[in-house]
Symmetry: C2
Subunit: 475 residues, 2 copies
């Protein structure tokens, strides 16, 4: 035992020393270069199987969300506006029969994927939706050249790695004045993914990161409006454009992320720490992906779990509720504390509304976040009974709920790990079920099965465009 302990300590010391050496070597100007070198040089076979599998789970989720979201009014409006500006019809719009060029399709697919606020979220230091900016360019490019399933998956994992690392170290330490993080770092993730597929050199990838870094977007003021969905879609386009320009030799700054007037300093007034490129190829950000069982802000999910648990364990009806005490982490109030949402979109950012929905319907799917239900008098009456307050000790996946009934009974519930959190993940079966719920009514069952199968088989597909094409109704 003593020998094992000693080996463990010695091993630890060696690792720490190696990390310290690595950090010291990362001087300003080198951070972007290291990121570029990693993205260009990475080999899929060096990425652990569990990490690759998480990529597949995330892609399946994106595809389901985009197909379901593709019929939303926001997408209809964007499509009507963009059609006259599309250079041909090379690219599939998930869930739709219309086609656009790769650039415009990236915007629409990005909007579709996020409009239900149901796509995977990183459950770490920020609430970034990693796929929205990264997958649309890959989906578009897959129909303009032959891209194998493994190449597609690999490019996706690299894009997620880049944007999530940026999100963590630049936005994850607090003090965010209101950046929609997905839009701020998404262009660089999209540039990494698209650039990988386009076969950029390390030098070109470096430039692509610069062109992407100078196009941050997304203000939190937009939450609850159509513009929230616009942000990941535009980030996808910004990154794709960056990669396409870099491929032609368009150049950029040497230290776009870490420079004195670069991304980290301008957006957050902080340096980009060497941590940004530490343990590249050893730790993978996709491992921190969380999947949403409910179609609203993830910081409301623990509260919904609590409602469902109380409904299962006790006999009561919403009409018999006098008042509701909800305790949530501060971030829930910050992102989803709207007491009187007036639209379907806005109602996704209201913990009070989420509780009212959960207590009324039990299930809380994407069908529940409509304008009509946001303005429903009974739901509004119930959500006004929710007294919500922040409890700083709670984590993002925790909530404490107390329901006072008219008959004097008091029901309480503490959710330690919301369903979909890293400690309580959705299983592959859960994700398949969610996928089918999402696409039901848009794709016939046989086609839905085929799309799901193609997603799960992505790591062995010879041509990823087979999956892409299969997502269009009638394909």
């Amino acid at each position: 035992m003593a020998a094992e302990l000693r080996d463990s300590i010695v091993g630890d010391v060696i690792t720490k020393a190696a990390e310290a050496k690595e950090s010291a070597a990362v001087t300003r100007g080198e951070i972007t270069r290291r990121l570029a070198d990693y993205v260009v040089g990475s080999r899929l076979e060096d990425i652990p199987a569990a990490v690759r599998r998480e990529g597949v789970r995330s892609i399946l989720t994106f595809v389901g969300c985009a197909i379901a979201g593709s019929r939303h009014e926001v997408v209809e409006i964007a499509l009507a506006a963009l059609l006259p500006f599309s250079a041909g019809r090379q690219a599939t719009l998930l869930g739709r029969q219309e086609r656009l060029d790769v650039m415009n399709a990236s915007l629409v697919n990005g909007i579709s994927s996020i409009v239900l606020d149901y796509d995977a979220t990183q459950f770490k230091k920020t609430n970034i939706h990693p796929s929205g900016p990264v997958l649309p360019p890959l989906i578009g490019l897959a129909e303009t050249r032959t891209v194998s399933g493994p190449e597609f998956l690999h490019a996706y994992l690299l894009g997620v790695e880049v944007e999530c690392r940026l999100a963590n170290v630049i936005f994850g330490a607090g003090g965010n004045p209101g950046w929609h993080v997905t839009g701020a770092v998404g262009p660089m993730g999209a540039a990494a993914a698209a650039g990988r597929l386009l076969g950029l050199t390390a030098e070109q990838m470096h430039d692509a990161f610069g062109i992407a870094a100078t196009q941050p977007g997304g203000l939190r003021e937009m939450y609850g409006t159509m513009c929230k969905s616009f942000t990941p879609g535009r980030a996808a386009q910004n990154g794709l454009l960056a990669a396409i320009l870099a491929a032609q030799g368009f150049d950029s700054a040497r230290a776009p992320i870490e420079g004195e007037k670069g991304f980290a300093h301008v957006l957050m007034q902080r340096p980009a720490p060497p941590e940004l490129v530490a343990r590249l190829g050893k730790e993978f950000e996709i491992s921190f992906n969380a999947y949403k069982p409910y179609a609203c802000a993830i910081v409301c999910h623990a509260a919904i779990d609590a409602c469902q648990r109380l409904l299962r364990e006790h006999r009561f009806v919403p009409d018999g509720i006098r008042r509701i005490e909800l305790r949530v982490p501060p971030v829930t109030l910050e992102l989803a504390g709207n007491p009187e949402p007036q639209t379907g979109l806005a109602s996704k950012f209201s913990a009070q509304h989420a509780v009212a929905l959960a207590l009324t319907y039990g299930d809380v799917s994407h069908h529940h976040f409509t304008d009509a239900l946001a303005c429903d008098a009974k739901l509004a009456g119930l959500r006004r009974k929710v007294e919500v307050a922040a409890e700083p000790a709670l984590s993002k996946s925790q909530a404490r709920l107390t329901i006072h009934l008219d008959n004097g009974r008091v029901l309480t519930c503490f959710v330690e790990h919301a369903l979909g959190s890293l400690e309580n993940p959705m299983s592959d079966e859960d994700l398949s079920r969610k996928f089918h719920q999402l696409v039901e009514g848009i794709l016939p069952r046989a086609q839905a099965d085929r799309v799901a199968d193609l997603c799960w088989e992505l790591p062995t597909l010879a041509d990823a465009s087979v999956l892409v094409k299969a997502t269009s109704p009638g394909a």
Copy 2:
């Protein structure tokens, strides 16, 4: 006299009271609405003739710069990258025979206009180039519908008004961590201009401002690289896209500029003051436009003037210089203090190089900012003799130059108002001369005359596309 004095004081009190009332009425959420109301409701005949004339001078300058810039490597690369993504060939590229769709042409025309860093600059609280984001969408739209010269000019003035007001109150008070201001506020200026031509309602214009506000771009880290030119072009596209989406009913936040998580707070951590919309329609930002006699950062111009004056007044040659003392305002060092530029683009941001060029060639035109001259050994030797230091009391258009010659003579010069500044403006004739210098070698003289004439006649043109089409070689 006493009566006049009394009237003047009373008048002043009434004005002040009216302004105070106006300020008090501007509560949060109202600022964007007021801007939108103004842009939609403004009438050209209410804008003073001198203001309209300044708009024409500015458009002439843009057209000349864009034609000259259109042959730059940066434009060639962007064009090669974008051609496959262009939906048709509806829109002219100034100075070129290729055509693109309106959206892609906006990016290329934006790049062309600024790549020489020679376009008009606002000489007030920031160094914004107002035209780069605003004119390209107008140029593109003018070929897709009938736009009269007055409508074109009016939309341009409104776009400039919006973006410059935003620049002044949000970025002009100091503390800018590194935003390229043209790119940050440009999308809103472009949205105003394009939205006006598209006939948006006030409600739609409000949404267009929101969609534009969530797409700020441009980091100063990019100065001296191709990405600097990309910024105004992308801002043009962002604003055009915002107007097009808003026209279809795409919505956005109510307080995108002034909200708690809106533009002003997120980018600069400061509120958007009511001053932003004070005296709309009474004061005009285009009045603060300055025109560049030299093709480099405007904060270097006083130093170039000083060199030219000493060359005129004294007999000396660069070989006879021992050392040069240059005193400039701090902003010159901040934006253009690069002691060893290695490329043509970077050399535009080097006061040291500007002095070396001026002393060697006398004139400093866009032909002097090449990679070859940036790396020229003789110029490099001369610029290393320039000891530059900041003198906080100097304004942006001032410089103090002392040249110590080998023969012991000491020449000194103080420039109080650089040529092109508001106090020492370029005349219409100066601007015409600059235009012809710019387009020489690209357009035949007869065509150049015709384009210049059409610019000056813009306020009476029935169809602005006549001007736009005339800028293509061989038109």
